[in-house]
Structure formats: C-alpha cells, structure tokens
Symmetry: C2
Subunit: 489 residues, 2 copies
C-alpha cells in the first residue's frame, strides 16, 4: 500500500516547537503538575532530533515560561501557572451551523448547568450527597477487585448491562421494592438521565404529547421535549398527580414520581395508581415510574411501586444509585416490558454500547455481599437525622410562618413561606445568597405555560435538599435564612 506521510514533523524546527510549546503553556496544557515531557520523549513523539527540542526548551526557560533543572523534566514556571488560570479562551465561529431539528430545539432551549457555588455556609440544592456518606473504602475495594478480575476479557459486553449486575439488581428490586422481573427486562444505564433519554427517543416523536407532573422534574420535561413532543402539565396536589384530570387525554407517555413526588413530596395513594394504570392501558401509553429516592422512607411502610401492581404491563420502572452512592458514578437501571427489551438493548448499543464494566462489576459485588444494603440502611438513618434537624431548625426559626410538605420520604422537603408574596422570591434568594445560603424556589419547577403556575405565585416555596449537609450546617443555614427573611419582612 502506498503511503504519503506528510512529514510535517520533520520540517519542524526549534522555532516552531518553541512557539507551539509557548502557546500550549499559556493554555495550561500541562496539567496540574505543570510538567513538560522530557526532551527525549518529546523529540521521539515529534520525530525530530533531541537537540532541536533542547534549543526550544532553552529559549522558553530564558523567557521565563518554564523552569529547567538538570536531570529533571522541565516545569511550567509558577508565575505562568498563576496567570494562565485566569485566561478564558473563546473564539466561536461566526458561521451559523446547520443543525438537525433536535439540535435546533436544544440550541433554542438548552438545559442549564452551572458550576456549583463554592464557599457557601449551607447550600440547600437538591441532588447532591454528603462526601462523608460515600463508602470510600468499600467502593475502592470493590473497584480494585473488579479491575483485577475484569481483564480476563476486554471485549464489548452486553448492551443491556453485565449479567452479574442485572442478576444482583433483580434480587435487590424484589427484596427492597417488591418489583419482580426477569433479568433480561433490566437495562443498566448511565444514571436515570440516560434512562429518560432512551425512553424519549424510543417512544416520542415531534408532535406527540406526554403528561408531566406540574410542578415536576425539569430534566425529564426537557429530555422529552427535546424530541419535539409537547408536555401536557397535570397539576399535583397532596396525593400527587391529579389522575382525575387525565381521563380522556391522548398522550404517548406519562412521567410520574409516585413514591415521593418531585418536588412536592406526595405519596400517591393506591386508588390514583390504579387510575393512572387504567389510563395508560386505554391510551396505549407508557408510564415512566421514576423511583428516584425510594430508598429513603422515614414514616411509612414500603409502598408497592406501580410496577408491582396488577395491570402494570405499560410501566417502565426507573431506578438510580445517584441518591445512595453518588450522582457522579452515573449508574441507573430500567425495568422495561418484556416486549421492548431487545429494542432498549439496541438503543443502548447505538447510544454508547454499554455502561462501563468495572463500575457495573463493583456495584454487583456490593449488592451480592450485602454491603450495598447495609450502606443504604446507614445513609437512610443519617438522612433521617438530617431531615429531623432541618424540620426542627425551620420550626425553631420560623414557627408558624413556615409550612412544610413532603416529609414522608426522600432527601428534600418543600418549605412554604405563606406570608412572603411570590414577588419577593428573587430578593430572598439574593439576600440569602449574600449570607452564604443557597436556596432554590419551587416556582422554577412549574411548567411555564401552566395554569397552575398561578398557584406557585401565591407565596415563596423552597425545595430544600439536605443530603449534602451536616447537621450543624443545616442549623446555621436556617438561622441565616431566618435573618434573610427578617430583612425582607
């Protein structure tokens, strides 16, 4: 075969190497330790003589970009590291890209992600976990065992997930949630977000409709809406989704959180559950049951999920370890109807072949050994203590001025300040933030076009997550929040 290597590297002289390295140093390419490759390694990589690299390095050292020491690899000068940190490179092209319809929708309405604020006294943002709850030793041990064992085979694995993990999850789902399924109905996904996205892609087209709890989980709405389908917001009351309102609505799917409605915290009674399942059968629609925090039940017996009820053939069950181990591990699981299992496997294969194997193996080992169950019991106790601390602190600081919802389960409650009109919400958030307290309004979780938004406008309501905070932080946070409220009154 003929090859025509461009031999660009051959033409590189010390000057080009110098310039390129300088640019790279200014962009802080050389990691946190600031070490550059040895002249021999760099010469080797670039196919030039070592002396050429040496000349370039000497020039960089003379100009103060790097520090060299005989026998050691050159290092980016400390002053450059400091300066470089502040450099933000940005050079968006003027050209307007031609995108898919999906791409255009995302461009017009992107999901938001912001770097979590640092240095707050207490951040009541929901969804984060306390570092002190992560089972560092157990996970390290499980990962080390997985790495040591796994290289016996280094090939793409089953798209639905490793047989070992799915087998372990099958047992876990049954004993902890009364969910019974075959192993091959389980699809391991990269966190519940990927589970939502697979459902969106397989079940929704532009122009379809889907039912959403209102207020509800924004990322689910966003994910379904990105297909071009339209959200039909259904109000939520103290018993969850108002199923009496959905009787004749035609839609392709409904997204619900019956175990602990997000954000208002309702536990859906059995009557409504049956109504919802009856609607799904009639509408030939799927119900996505997001059991996102089912491990945390404080004052109730286990409630069987929709999936465990009669007539739940249309239910897709979604679980995650983001609330028990860590959201950064990115592991979740779907239980899909038997008729859809190969389709979900095909979609998962197209999307990313399969979830990383070492993690799957590590989680499976923790489930098999009982370590995971013990960990869940431990963090359940700790989060019950945190919730109690939060309720006590709110009561102590606000007395009758606060009304709390959704304490039966989960890792968040909703605190309503009925005496504070909604128009003071932004001011409260700003004032609290200035005092070092991060707070997040319920109002952001309502559908923008929804009639029920009026409801959210009556008073200030906060979604208060507590699982990332220690008891002392919760108490300080509530004290500072009370000061912020007092300043507004």
């Amino acid at each position: 075969m003929k090859t025509t290597p461009a031999r660009r590297a051959d033409r590189m002289g010390a000057r080009q190497i110098y310039e390129a390295l300088r640019d790279q140093i200014m962009s802080l390419v050389y990691g946190t330790d600031g070490l550059l490759p040895s002249s021999r390694a760099l010469a080797d990589e670039m196919g030039v003589a070592r002396s050429t690299v040496t000349v370039a390095y000497e020039q960089l050292a003379a100009e103060g970009f790097i520090e060299t020491r005989h026998g050691a690899r050159p290092r980016v000068a400390r002053a450059v590291v400091q300066r470089g940190r502040t450099r933000v490179a940005s050079r968006p092209s003027a050209r307007r890209a031609h995108l898919s319809a999906f791409g255009e929708r995302l461009r017009q309405d992107p999901p938001r992600w912001t770097e979590p604020p640092r240095g707050l006294v207490a951040n009541f943002r929901y969804g984060e976990l306390s570092p002190s709850d992560f089972p560092v030793l157990a996970w390290k041990k499980a990962m080390a065992a997985a790495v040591a064992r796994k290289p016996e085979r280094l090939a793409y694995d089953n798209p639905s997930g490793s047989l070992r993990l799915r087998t372990a999850l099958q047992g876990y789902l049954w004993r902890s949630r009364s969910v019974r399924c075959e192993v091959d109905q389980i699809v391991v996904v990269n966190g519940s977000q990927q589970g939502l996205d697979i459902c969106a892609r397989l079940l929704l087209d532009a122009g379809d409709r889907f039912l959403m709890e209102d207020p509800g989980y924004q990322m689910a709405r966003h994910t379904f809406a990105a297909t071009g389908a339209e959200a039909v917001p259904i109000p939520v009351d103290a018993d969850g989704l108002e199923t009496a309102r959905i009787g004749d609505i035609e839609a392709r799917l409904a997204y619900v959180t019956p175990s602990h409605q997000y954000p208002l915290g309702a536990v859906m009674p059995i009557g409504r559950r049956h109504q919802l399942l009856a609607w799904a059968r009639k509408a030939d629609a799927y119900v996505i049951e997001d059991d996102y925090d089912s491990e945390y039940r404080y004052d109730t017996k286990p409630i069987p999920p929709l999936h465990a009820l009669e007539g739940s053939d249309n239910v897709i069950y979604l679980g995650t370890i983001s609330k028990t181990l860590s959201p950064t591990l990115r592991i979740g699981y779907l239980v899909v109807p038997a008729g859809l299992r190969s389709l979900f496997a095909a979609a998962k294969q197209i999307m990313d072949r399969h979830t990383p194997l070492f993690e799957q193996d590590a989680l499976a080992a923790m489930l098999e050994s009982g370590t995971y169950d013990r960990h869940v019991r431990r963090v359940r106790r700790r989060n019950a203590e945190r919730q109690q601390a939060l309720l006590d602190a709110l009561r102590r600081r606000f007395g009758d001025r606060v009304r709390i919802e959704g304490t039966a389960a989960g890792l968040h409650v909703v605190a309503w300040f009925d005496h504070l009109p909604h128009k003071r919400e932004d001011a409260l958030i700003r004032t609290a933030h200035a005092k070092g307290v991060g707070i997040y309004p319920v109002s952001a979780l309502f559908d923008e076009r929804s009639a029920s938004r009026g409801r959210s406008r009556r008073a200030v309501g906060l979604v208060m997550g507590y699982s990332a905070l220690e008891v002392a932080q919760i108490e300080r946070g509530c004290r500072l929040l009370a000061q912020a409220v007092d300043q507004l009154d």
Copy 2:
C-alpha cells in the same frame, strides 16, 4: 400530608415469602455467592416479624432449595445453582408497542451484538485487546486515588467532562497528534460510539444524506442511519476515500477514517485530505474524523489529522481510549468546532449528564504523570510484534496465495485470498470455526446497496484483528486457517 401506604408487606405471610423466595432462587437472584439475606435483614426490609421469615426459610431448607447453618446466612443449594444456570426466562408481550420513528427504524434494523465465542484457539475479531496489555496496577492505583479524592464534592459535574481531564487531553492531542484546540472544544464522551451518536442527533434529520466510506465502519453507518438519514457509500481505494467522486454530492456530513481506513487500512494522502475539506466547506457539511487507532503507527511518521490542517473548521475530531486501555472503560472524546461547543455540552447533558467522574479523574492522572504515554509506547511495541507475527505466519502458511493490506498502522490488517471465490466465504468461516479459529469477512462491511459490493464479491477477504492474541495464538491460528483453506481448495 396524607399518606396511604398499601401495607402489602404487612399482609405477607410465611407462605408468600416462601413462594416468592423460591421463585427468586430459581431465577438465581442471589448472585454468584448464593447468599440470601439474614432472616433479620429480610424481615426488616419487608416489615414482617422475623419469625415469619424463619418459617419460610425452614420450609425452603426442607425442600432442598437452600442450605442453612446456625449463625450464618442461608445459602442457595449447590444443586439448585447448577440447574438454575440453564434456565432462560422469556415472556415477550403479544402487544405491539407504539414506537417513535427512531424506535421503528431500530426495530427493523437493530445493531447486532453477540456474546463473544469462548474456547477458540484464536479469535481474529477486531476491536478486542489482550488482557495481558491492560495496566492493571496503574489503573487500580489511579482509580483508588480518584475515589479517595473525589468525595470532596458529590455533585453533577460539567457535561463536557472534567476540566482536569480535558486539560490533560488538550496536551495529549497536541503532542501526539498535532491537534490544537481550546479546552472547551473538548467533549468527553462514553466511548467513540456516544461521540457518533451525539453527532448523528445534532446534525442529521430523516431524509438527510451522509457520506460513508465503502467498505466502512458498520456501527457508524448504523448510528447515522438510525436518524432516518440516508448513507451515500463512496468507494475506498489504496489511498482511502475516493474524494474525486464526492465533488457535487450534497450531504450533511461525511464520516472518514483518514489515518487508517477501516477496514482496508489506507492512509489518506494530503491531496485527498484537502479535497475532502474543500467539499465540506462547499457543501456546508461536517467531516467526522474518527482517529480510532492513531496511537498505532508502525512504518510512518505521524500524519497530521484533518483537524490539524488549514481550513478544518468543519471537522469534528473523534478519539478513544478503547484501543489503548480497554473498550470496556467507555471513554472517548470529541474536539468540536468552537461554535458548537455549548450545543454539544447541552446534548451530552440531555443524554447522560456527564461521563463517570472517577474514570475521568483516573485517566487524567495517567495522562498528567506520563503513565499513559508510556503505556501507549509499550502496547505499540507489543502490537507491532503481533502484527509482524501475523504477517510472517500468513506468509509462511499461504505464500503468494495471500495479499495483505493496511499494515502501516492500527490493530488489524486485511488478508485477501484471491484464489478463493467469494461464494466459498461462508464455508471457510464455518470450517475455520470448527477448527477453533474465528474469522470475519470484509464483505460484511460493504454497504448492501453499493455498486462496489461487486468488488467485494470477487474473492474472500478477511479483517484480521490481532491485538487480543498472543504471538503463539496467532501462529496456531494461521496454521489452522491454512488447514481450513486447504480443505476448501
């Protein structure tokens, strides 16, 4: 808030627990170690008295399903474990699901995944790596450090990937591939498959067209076609994609492997690279440059990727660690045009929020310390040895009857047996397999509708991957393959 717990667990008697456990045991829920929960733990989970569980356990033990021993957790009986392994549960629903257009396309044309065959003497399947090449100790160390460090923050991270890994990748891309980019043009993805899928979703709609190398990488074609877009197959010769043929074709994107064409192995000369870039500018299309095995160059100097050339604003660069560390880690990266970076971040967030953080951290540490570069140099040497062993063995066994292509780079070559007519291909595969040799035909990688398929029909051509095999296996495999060919002759 009112709650109406169904208290289903309360109504569970020993009989129900017995039946449920028996079913679960027969489905082998209890993992590889076969341990059931202690009676106390199970009673606790189910909200029943411990004595109720004990009665159920006694019945199961009496019937031989489990073995109990005082003070230890019950264990599934060995005989049951053996029987259970053969049970395949399957109960697809008769109901025909209403799917999205994407879902229907996947149902009609699903990607294939088959459990890798076990017990072969030599499996020449491309894409797998040798267990002996995986840096077990280095990865364990890097992961342990990541797990120990990371819990300082357990919150969702940047959708584009951790700043640390992207910074490390920026340096790696520049020093190893002459690819220069800003950190925020890099998007960390779950293997190159997710990179392809993001591009497909953001850039293609049903009815659009995309250029594919023919023969080419099936999963890329599958992924783009799943959007409903149509593949335009462009023939490949000894210099890669025949760019002279694309002048006036209107298409939204082109997928290419210029560094080492998959599967035929051509290295695209600089002239064709410029032609391709000129086409992309004129057509306002994107070029996806899949640099899947660029770390493996044996007889050429580095060739600058398309991305490193002038006028490459439309190039999306795709890289992976699947060929250097492991395909089961699921880490890859895109370098996207500056104007698209926030859009790709938004898509990644919708798809699965971000790639798992511990892995990102571990890989970043290996890149920073130079461990990754050293590992790449080591496996490059080993794979050069494997390639040489394969070429020698083929030459020794087949002499002039074999014609080999694509040896300049990568982890596979193509072996053409010009004297074997294409119609003998299936027979050869079967005969080889019976002898313990896995072989894979080039013909499967041609577009089905392509005129150039005629070319693939002339003779038997095999894509021979060698990176998962040791030298002795390669030699035995070639000897057995020669026997299989002789049986056909």
